[in-house]
């Protein structure tokens, strides 16, 4: 069964460094999402992406964040200058073409620790 994959599974970085989290969505899916979960808190929406552009973003997704689909298969989340509060589990999700009731399929997550 096709699944969303994410790399790396864990990443440790120093505050102020740039990180890129990678996701490979399910191949025939067209909508892509990033969510994050700070330890002990809710899973929160960051951004959605369709047709090579951001379709929606939350207030969390500020100028430090960017997303890209560089090659038709990968979907990346970049944090330009990490802060301690960026430490979280980051989930990528995808769903098929538009329409009512499409289910989002999630990857296993990348656990980011900013020191």
């Amino acid at each position: 069964e096709p699944e969303v994959t994410q790399t790396p599974s864990h990443q440790v970085t120093q505050m102020g460094q740039e990180v890129i989290l990678r996701c490979v969505p399910i191949s025939n899916h067209l909508y892509f999402y990033w969510y994050r979960q700070i330890l002990g808190q809710k899973v929160e929406f960051l951004v959605s992406f369709y047709n090579n552009e951001i379709s929606e973003k939350s207030e969390i997704f500020d100028d430090q964040f960017s997303v890209e689909r560089p090659d038709g298969s990968n979907f990346t989340l970049k944090i330009r200058s990490t802060k301690l509060e960026d430490s979280a589990m980051y989930f990528c999700a995808s769903n098929p073409s538009g329409g009512v009731g499409k289910t989002q399929y999630f990857g296993p997550g990348t656990r980011l620790l900013v020191l």
Binding site: F45, S48, V100, G101, P108
Partner: protein, 113 residues
């Protein structure tokens, strides 16, 4: 704005016992409701979903959930829990189309012998 409340942070049940995980939502229209499960080191796996129709929905691994509009609830149930059900369970609400999901904080399920 949409919101989801999962009142129980942690539940412990005995293997073979029944299970009910609570979920309450706030949403102006008819919601799309989901239950996801996350085992350690794994992603969020969809257990079941409700969009319309029969308010009792069946999912994978023997789980079911009932949508009760009058109570704004979508509780997850399983008649007999197995040790492999130990995981974190998340309730989420969405709306038509490809809008983001709003999640609850999750309920961690422990299963004891």
């Amino acid at each position: 704005a949409q919101s989801v409340t999962q009142p129980d942070i942690h539940i412990t049940v005995s293997e073979g016992a029944s299970l009910e995980l609570r979920c309450n939502y706030s949403y102006g229209a008819t919601p799309y409701l989901f239950w996801y499960v996350q085992s350690p080191g794994q992603g969020l796996q969809l257990l079941l979903k409700y969009f319309s129709g029969d308010t009792l929905v069946q999912g994978i691994k023997g789980f079911e959930a009932e949508f009760k509009r009058s109570q704004s609830s979508f509780n997850l149930r399983k008649p007999s829990v197995h040790w492999s059900d130990a995981a974190e369970y998340f309730c989420a609400v969405g709306s038509p189309g490809n809008t983001p999901l709003v999640f609850g904080k999750g309920t961690r399920l422990s299963v004891i012998a």
